[in-house]
Amino acid sequence: MSTRTERDEPGYFGPGQDLFGIYHPGCLGGRQAALLCPPLGQDLIRCHRLYRQLARALASLGLAVLRFDYHGTGDSAGATGEVDWSRCLADVATAAGQLRLRSGCEQVIGFGARLGGSLALAAADRAQFAELILWDPVLDGPGHVAALDALQSALRLDGNRFVAPRPAAALADQWQGFAIGDGLRQPLAGLRLDPPRRRTLLVCSSAADGNADHHRFAAAGAEVAALSQPTPWQDLAHLETAIQSHELIDIVGRRVQEATYA
């Protein structure tokens, strides 16, 4: 279904009008909406364009779409060091409610990449998602924390970035450009996510990554799709390179169309 969509609208919402979002209207009377949960940290910036392209693609299929920033991220209120896992989960639910209110759609699909996928998954019940589409979600929190810490250590010595190594203290309590507080580090360090009890598509960038997780999700009834190319999520050389994948947008679009005509 291809329909002419209205212009997307930026604005603030939430109890304190402190969450930033951009609403992409779908076609009038559409049955489904999609909430795009962004990743955290540098992944949010790297995925911004892809999220916008995905939002427009889904809106052109008739879905109302909301992309937004959690408290302490993007254009939302709050300092970067204030990002808090529990608050992010609450923000997902708030954004889902906002999307229902704005679009009139009851059925909301939750989409997220990396930690955005983890948040969509962890907040699925609270946000009452009808379906989840997760792209390389972080399921092993301790492993993710260790990887980000290692990347931060390597950053100190990155000759492509700094003229000379920086003192370790200058990089403390940060992950690749962003201040990290206990409200994010501690919950992530204990995070273990299980497959959800709802219709789910797990999109994986590389078949080699986390095979055990793929099997766990498949065993729980999730569909698993693999991209033909790996995505350089944790690569210092590509830290400021945008993440692009037309293949991902195609896969999500097809999935949404299947759901629409199911």
Partner: protein, 282 residues
């Protein structure tokens, strides 16, 4: 400080966020331009932190996306990129003027943002000042001496250099490559800005050491008269990277910009008019 999200522009195609002081707004507004292809929050959220800090000190500040970048769309006009940038920034000035009452503007730009700021400041009479982060500079004899001499006098570095030359080229890291206009033209345009009374702040980072490696180089590039002009401020942050990835480096940069603004643009205006046409998701 409070913020408003807006869709604006001659084709209603631009998206930006105004950070407005709650009281005692200054008569000078600040407009932050895109750094490369990063959307308006800036590298590592630099532009959000900058806008909020400056608005907290009384400067109405707008961060926005130029046509086709970030959340903004194309205007649909048959314009060159230069014309489009000039028109987009003029639209941004109109928005900030409507929202805050400010009458003149300081532009802030990093890398390609600095180039766009130069382009606009050259022709737009409403520009009162510019902060150029890793803006234009040119390799001088002094640059080459500072760059090559230590290497030539260090056998280990010579050997390392030769080994690197023999290796296949490495993929590009976070380094950047931009095309600069002729030096004489830039010198003339900067002199023209100063003649019009603009205040210019140049900050070079260690990420620019491929073409700028000492504060003195600014005078070598543009002449002593221009470098010593009271409207010019130059600093070189050698340890810092191009996009200010470390929290402490960003904080120092923002404090420096705030201090420069307070020195050169201290005027406080009457309280701003009530904002209107606020776009909110309801």
């Amino acid at each position: 400080m409070h913020e408003h999200a807006s869709r604006f522009g001659r084709a209603d195609h631009l998206v930006g966020i105004c950070s407005l002081p709650d009281a005692d707004a200054r008569s000078t507004g600040v407009i932050v331009l895109n750094a490369g292809l990063v959307h308006h929050i800036g590298p590592f959220r630099l532009h959000v932190e900058m806008a909020r800090q400056l608005a907290g000190r009384g400067y109405p500040t707008l961060r926005f996306d130029l046509s086709t970048l970030g959340d903004s769309s194309a205007s649909g006009e048959p314009l060159s990129r230069e014309q489009q940038v000039q028109s987009d920034v003029a639209d941004a000035m109109t928005l900030l003027r409507e929202r805050s009452g400010c009458t003149r503007f300081v532009l802030v730009g990093l890398c390609s943002g600095a180039q766009n700021a130069h382009l606009v400041a050259r022709d737009n009479e409403a520009v009162a000042g510019v902060v150029f982060l890793d803006g234009y500079a040119y390799r001088t004899t002094g640059f080459k001496l500072r760059h090559y001499l230590p290497r030539l006098l260090n056998p280990a570095r010579v050997a390392r250099h030769l080994v690197q030359r023999l290796r296949p080229a490495q993929p590009a890291g976070s380094g950047f490559r931009v095309e600069f206009p002729p030096q004489a033209r830039v010198r003339e345009e900067l002199a023209g800005m100063l003649q019009r009374g603009l205040r210019l702040c140049f900050v070079y980072s260690g990420g620019a050491t491929g073409y700028f490696n000492h504060r003195r180089q600014f005078g070598e590039c543009y002449g002593r008269a221009l470098a010593r002009h009271p409207g010019v401020s130059v600093s070189f942050l050698k340890q810092v990277d191009h996009t200010y990835i470390l929290v402490g480096d960003r904080a120092r940069l923002l404090d420096d910009i705030e201090s420069w603004l307070c020195t050169h643009f201290p005027h406080v205006d009457a309280p701003p008019e009530t904002p209107h046409n606020v776009v909110a998701i309801r």
